[in-house]
Symmetry: C2
DNA sequence: TTGAAAGCGCTACCAT
DNA sequence: ATGGTAGCGCTTTCAA
């Protein structure tokens, strides 16, 4: 059966329902003895709190909503998965919505979720409806990834610096001819900085800026294959490759395998965004990536802060620098090479 | 600003709040004139209903929860994505939980989600806690995939028949030596039925029953590679391959590419579970798969039925037979081959 | 057609 | 330490 209320418990325990409420909320003002008794009875009766009532009476309920970004990819999947697991440890409920930012926020709003996390790129501009929805939302919003809107807390990612550190690493390993596959302007910036800073060889062909859809789109994919093949067959064959995302990584690995290129013997690779798949499939890829655990810890810690202080702050929680993870897709070049 | 209540609207319209309530719920008993006026004012004041209050007073809220299955894989991702999009068209809110069935159900319960969809294999047994949670849940539960529990509606999938139809197709295309990679007993049954029914060649080596973790687990993956390589180098080289899941497909495509096997020239392939990735990566795979759109439509239609009738029914909504999708990974064999 | 009143389950405030 | 009471915003019933 359901529908056990605090009044039922109160009756069973021979106390009043406010007393039960206090016990269930760990509030002070109840003797240790009755406290224990009430707790026992509540458990016995399999009491489940009614969030609607609790909410009507203005209480938080330790819940967090995640707005799934409008990007395909395993990185978010793992982010999401980790968030669920870590949040569970802290007894925070989490819900995911893939309905688009505005719609998702509205849903969360209606269902009493009190903290919302989303992932937006720096290019993101909130639509008017989103702003309107945000006015109604009484909880906290935290944006990861560079997007911003008034009142939201921010977790920024220095992608440029991340790619730059990958370039430094490759340079340290003796690579002078490094190509880049991707489209993110920040990452391109990090790549160029690496080229300049280390005085590396560079030709325009080294920057393969494939269109955004080359992960699934066949045309883009072919364009990628053709461009890379031309580069590989040309005089300026690179010894290393930076892949700016999981999408480019999957696409390129196919291209490389169809060309029969061995990694890292013939070509070294560093990819952006670390996902478990990269550590087994098909070579153990070196990556540079924001740490999912760090990201999640930041969010969850901020959730607690929010629960303590309650009001919106609109501050930058941290600027995360993607970390290099060395595995076995980069080879050290001999001096003479 | 927030916090516009029906009382505010009532005041502004010079009526009582129950009248406003009726209008907002499209209930009868209000003159057309005041109805229009109230609607206008509500919109003007940017009224947002308070679900907590509405819920306390026992009302549904057109929301649906999806329990993410305890399986990695893109198929569920696309299922989930499609569900969001289709549900949005019908103005149903959807939330996803990846916290495990019991925990997820509890969360949905607390947040007044009134219909829950989950995906469980026939082997699934509800834990006691799940049953307990189910008692509390006043909405409808629908299980896809073969799992069952009292009161839940069921959408079954005849995987065996699906694989069998793949076998029929391959047989029609002239294949007599067909191997199988996977572990699902139902699918193995479909495979064996196909072998027997068509009098195909068979040796135990044709059934590569790799352990469940061979998608990500390195050991399993190697085992798979070794077993398949042995088969390929042996006297009984198959001309076609059935892959029983996305996991085996990804793993095998790697193995095949490292062996330099061309598809479909040297080997034809049919895989189970259709996902967009299969249509481009790296060859356009033929698949046999339950239709995501059919699945979603069944669920959403049943949601409406539930909203009409309200009580739990515990019936089987449909037995879905996976459909064959022909692309270009199967070659027609000459008679002499 | 309309509105007054009760009540959903809970928390907060203020007496006791 | 305890409990009576009010009230959160809404729907529902019933009387006017």
């Amino acid at each position: 059966m359901s529908n056990v209320t605090i009044k039922d418990i109160a009756a069973a325990a021979g106390v009043s329902h406010p007393t039960v409420s206090k016990v269930l909320n760990n509030a002070s003002g109840v003797s240790e003895e009755t406290r224990e008794r009430i707790k026992r009875i509540a458990k016995q009766m399999d009491y489940v709190p009614n969030y609607a009532a609790r909410n009507l009476a203005n209480k938080r309920n330790r819940s967090l909503g995640l707005i799934w970004p409008d990007v395909e990819g395993l990185f978010y999947y793992h982010l999401c998965d980790t968030l669920h697991k870590e949040a569970a440890k802290r007894r925070i409920d989490v819900f995911v919505s893939m309905s688009g930012a505005t719609h998702a926020l509205r849903n969360f709003n209606e269902h009493f979720i009190d903290y919302v996390v989303c992932w937006f790129s720096p290019m993101w501009m909130p639509e008017d409806d989103f702003i309107r929805e945000k006015e109604h939302f009484k909880g906290q919003i935290t944006i990861i990834g560079g997007g911003r809107t008034e009142g939201a807390n921010l977790i920024l990612i220095d992608r440029s610096e991340g790619i730059f550190s990958a370039m430094q690493y490759l340079s340290t390993m003796g690579h002078k001819k490094i190509a880049f596959v991707g489209i993110d302007p920040e990452k391109i910036k990090g790549y160029m900085k690496g080229v300049l800073h280390n005085g590396l060889h560079f030709t325009p062909e080294y920057m393969i800026t494939a269109p955004n859809d080359f992960y699934y789109g066949t045309e883009g994919k072919n364009g990628l294959a053709e461009r890379f093949t031309a580069l590989w067959r040309g005089r300026d064959r690179p010894t290393a490759l930076i892949l700016d995302s999981q999408g480019s990584a999957f696409a390129m690995i196919n291209v490389l395998s169809s060309l029969g290129i061995r990694i890292p013997d013939e070509l070294s690779i560093v990819s952006y965004d670390d996902i478990p798949e990269f550590s087994v499939y098909p070579v153990r890829l070196d990556t540079v990536s924001p740490s999912i655990h760090e990201l999640i810890k930041l969010v969850l810690d901020d959730y607690e802060v929010f629960c303590q202080h309650g009001e919106r702050r609109g501050e930058t929680l941290k600027i995360i620098v993607p970390e290099l993870i060395v595995r076995e897709s980069v080879r050290k070049l001999d001096v003479k090479e």
